[in-house]
Symmetry: C2
Subunit: 590 residues, 2 copies
């Protein structure tokens, strides 16, 4: 059987029975939509993913872009991928008709796009970056800037990038040192070096628009002096495009996402790089961060999708490959059994399923809160949804990245010696996956964000809202006589208790003490929230006798029995402030 990339049955179930996607159509913004409009979008994404992007994945992984010191040349297969993605309408699917979009709920779009990501992460990457850049300009750009850039980006004639990182400024964006000097005409002259710019150069479209973080000459130091600019590779000049002094100084040799070139850029070496301010001066990081939830959900979905395609590959392999006999059977005359017959292989497969589908569900929940937070008619609903979105985002980003990497590792392991070769695909997805714990905020940063900003936001209102949702799910599960949900109740208690303790430390001024175990706290909160997602899904599936529903129940049981009990220990580490690495000194490390 060909790899389905993502399970149709699961996505349909998640959208209709867990996330109530149709219910979103009651929001005025989505009143034009219905099941009848969601379905063609899902079908179209599935088709493009399976028929166009997927066949191009392996060739693109094996033959990365070349840089001949003049131009960066992408794999030829990328052209058809790009035109299919553009025709599909993926660049502005969630945007309103005013900018050519069909205003799909993010919930629906995100889960449909999972197929495209699972099929070919690099190909989708061009679209995700272009979409993100255009969205920034749409929201923050002045009319002139929108007039110049928006249509070409949303129409896929140009692509976009996020040009944040510099050689000395990665996680610490406050240290960005690219300089923007006001030009006479309201534009700015930029000078600086940018690094790891995905899609930063290529021969796929006639132009590229970089969304660049830079410091206007004389601006305050740190994060409060950073502005956002649209800096095209070639700038419009008298009706044509002319070179804008954006030079590719190197092509990065990445270990994954091989189809998407990542480059080092020099801006303004010849003093002729012009940029258009996007948003207010010195508010660049703030603009960027307003888009951060969306960007981080996208990375989370990249990760979940990458784990999904590998899970399905491993599952098929385990069904087809025969090796060994059942435990206790020593008769060599009997034929070997399929790998999936071995309990420990089933454990590895069920663990992958629990991670993959748990991740999809959490991202789906976050996306739904995003839709509600933007479009609910009443302020109270919007603001509660926004709190929950903000709370879930670091988890929806880091859980799929970290546990997805574990799932991808298991997919390699299930393939045995064959998994260690590039004749099989699991190793490629393992390489692709590793980026997701690094870009758009490392896992360390997600932990600090969750604990230092999100849970204390609104005086603890976010966690209180979460608690209500989780308790409602528990009550519903109990009403249906689900017998295995106790570990979620305990996990929730641990989460609440630890949060109170750590919050107390923060309030008393001990910020370092509050954040010392942010990694354990992130793990704890993620485990509980994925547990909530699994209980919600198992409640829907409960009592049905079909294979699909039984599989969901087993994955839920697995997650609750094997992962939720860890929260007790994680809580203890946070509360006791276990200090082995806190009072450790550099020179003791050897």
């Amino acid at each position: 059987m060909p790899n389905p990339l993502v399970s149709d049955r699961f996505i349909d179930f998640l959208l209709s029975e867990v996330l109530d996607a149709e219910g979103l159509c009651r929001l005025p913004a989505f009143s034009e939509h219905s099941r009848a409009t969601f379905r063609p979008w899902l079908d179209a994404c599935r088709r493009v993913a399976r028929e166009v992007l997927w066949p191009a994945y392996e060739p693109m992984d094996h033959k990365p872009p070349r840089f001949d010191n003049e131009a960066v040349l992408v794999h030829p297969a990328m052209r058809e991928c790009w035109s299919s993605l553009v025709s599909l309408g993926v660049l502005n699917a969630t945007r309103p008709p005013a900018v050519g979009g069909q205003h799909l709920p993010l919930t629906v779009a995100t889960l449909a796009h999972a197929y495209l990501m699972a099929a070919n992460l690099s190909a989708y990457g061009f679209a995700g970056l272009t979409s993100g850049a255009a969205h920034l300009i749409e929201v923050f750009g002045a009319d002139e800037v929108k007039a110049l850039f928006l249509a070409p980006l949303y129409e896929g004639r140009w692509t976009g990038t996020m040009a944040l990182t510099e050689p000395q400024a990665g996680s610490s964006l406050g240290d960005v040192s690219t300089i923007a000097t006001p030009a006479a005409d309201g534009r700015f002259r930029l000078r600086g070096a940018k690094l790891f710019i995905s899609g930063g150069d290529h021969d796929l479209t006639e132009n590229i628009v970089h969304l660049v973080l830079a410091r206007i000459e004389g601006a305050p130091a740190g994060t409060r002096g950073i502005s956002l600019f649209a800096v095209p590779k070639r700038r419009p000049h008298e009706g044509r495009l002319v070179d804008n002094d954006v030079v590719t100084s190197g092509l990065i040799r990445k270990i994954g996402w091989k189809g998407l070139p990542s480059v080092a850029l020099s801006l303004g070496d010849d003093g002729d790089c012009l940029g258009w301010l996007v948003g207010p001066e010195h508010q660049g990081l703030k603009c960027m961060f307003q888009m951060m939830n969306e960007a981080r959900l996208m990375v989370g979905m990249n990760a979940a999708a990458t784990a999904s395609v590998a899970f399905h590959e491993a599952l098929e392999y385990a069904r087809v490959r025969r090796q060994g006999r059942a435990l206790g059977v020593n008769d060599p005359a009997q034929p070997p059994v399929a790998l999936v017959e071995h309990p420990d292989v089933r454990r590895m497969l069920l663990r992958q399923k629990a991670i993959v589908e748990g991740a999809f569900a959490v991202i789906g929940l976050a996306a739904r809160f995003a839709d509600v937070s933007e479009h609910a008619p009443d302020e109270a609903t919007r603001s509660e949804a926004k709190l929950l979105l903000d709370l879930l985002t670091p988890i929806a980003k880091s859980f799929p990245a970290e546990k997805g990497f574990e799932a991808n590792t298991l997919a390699v392991q299930v393939h045995g010696g064959y998994g260690y070769t590039s004749e099989y695909l699991p190793e490629a997805w393992l390489r692709d996956q590793k980026l997701n714990s690094i870009h758009e905020g490392t896992t360390t940063i997600q932990g600090l964000d969750l604990l230092g900003r999100k849970v204390v936001a609104g005086g603890g209102a976010a966690l209180a809202a979460l608690e209500r949702h989780v308790r409602a799910a528990i009550a519903e599960a109990k009403a249906k006589d689900l017998t295995f949900i106790e570990p979620l109740e305990q996990g929730l208690e641990h989460l609440l208790r630890v949060t109170a303790t750590l919050g107390g430390r923060g309030v008393s001024g001990d910020v370092a003490g509050m954040l010392a175990h942010s990694a354990d706290y992130l793990d704890l909160a993620s485990t509980v929230i994925v547990g909530w997602a699994w209980v919600s899904m198992a409640t829907r599936a409960h009592g049905r006798g079909d294979d699909f529903s039984r599989g969901l129940t087993q994955a839920a049981r697995y997650w609750l029995a094997t992962e939720l009990p860890r929260t007790s220990h994680l809580a203890h580490l946070c509360e006791s402030n276990e200090s082995s690495y806190l009072d450790l000194r550099d020179e003791w490390l050897g």
Copy 2:
């Protein structure tokens, strides 16, 4: 600072203060040895590792061997590596003078060879395979076979391989189908296909000797019908070497160990492949398994060494790379701090140290039991040591492979975006590492081996012996007032209790029930045994005020506080026989 590969201070400490390497010289077999003979060996291995193998690592990783359908051509840098390894005497360092060796204790050799592995896993791989093949012939070969093969192998004029795997027989060696037909002269004609044969073809030496598992025509099916053969690439004939019908049918595109070619071999396509029986007919697997402890300790050390070199790289990077400010400091005018100043980075580094040095210690303990089991004058001491060696081997193999992979992942993570590029080395070690959970018995197999064979061996005598050692270490730690060892006591209780429960299931005939959570049991036992190693080390280091000793104490504290408490949960999973993946059916998985 150049990467030290492995910490000299740590290895010296481990050998002299924890493993009492000098004490081994009281055994008659090692009476010629002393600290004065160990030291030059360590120094020489360190020098060759740092000066010869290490500079060749990156070039060999970047330019793997080529296969032109005639010959497999290794990287030119491999030649100097090989001649240095041969001159060093690494091929027979642990073998007696009768075969040209210096009869070093395995304990000393293993820890010295860690440097060579950390420097260049592929280069060492040629030596490890050659050594293993020669050792098999030395132990099981008839005089004629030894006369033909032993000297060229131990002298490094030829290399050796282990040719076990076939396309349809990986983990399940009982399904090997290569056929050996007796020839008139006592030799055998072989015919079959072998896969993933590391070092199976190359242009480094004039000949290669494959130790091949095959089935003599008419032999019983399954493991009891498999014999071992020495099958040279070119066979000695009238004073010269002639082609032996061993044909390379393909070069495997591996993801790591890139310097060591792995090939598919066709034996006897033209009916002219001759092999020499090694050991008794039909006892091939048994011979192979008698060498298995050594082979698995070597894989464990490959893994620990690969995690070590990455840890040291990450540590240096974290000291040099400046990024961000301390938690709570928002003053952009202050210079960025080194990564190592961030608590979560220190956590990642301390975790790597705890894994790497814990792994070295467990492998060192196993190697010491190997030395004692082979050379102690009295039978009782030998057999207790053998039980402990057998018990520790699956852990010394799988713990470094699994947790080492996690450590290697953390080393990439510490490098941030740079870690995602092949300009930096951590990604290469991550690729190298992945093989270690697959070859020489997957982690699944190690778990089944530990629980199904090792702990029940001798009526539970192995675990009883282990318990005595762990309790002695705990008593010693208590006498020195170590305050953090309680989790080890609890972990030990969990291990003993679970073993009794599972053993009871096995005795009552429920083998499947006993083995259902073999992965959790392996995790539990590994965590306890690494905990024992850390308590032993911390006891030695206790009360000393130097940086090195303090670092050991912190790593021990970290391991006991963060890992040992997991044993309670793992024990529960085993005892309750949590059944989510046991009663799962294939068709439910999606």
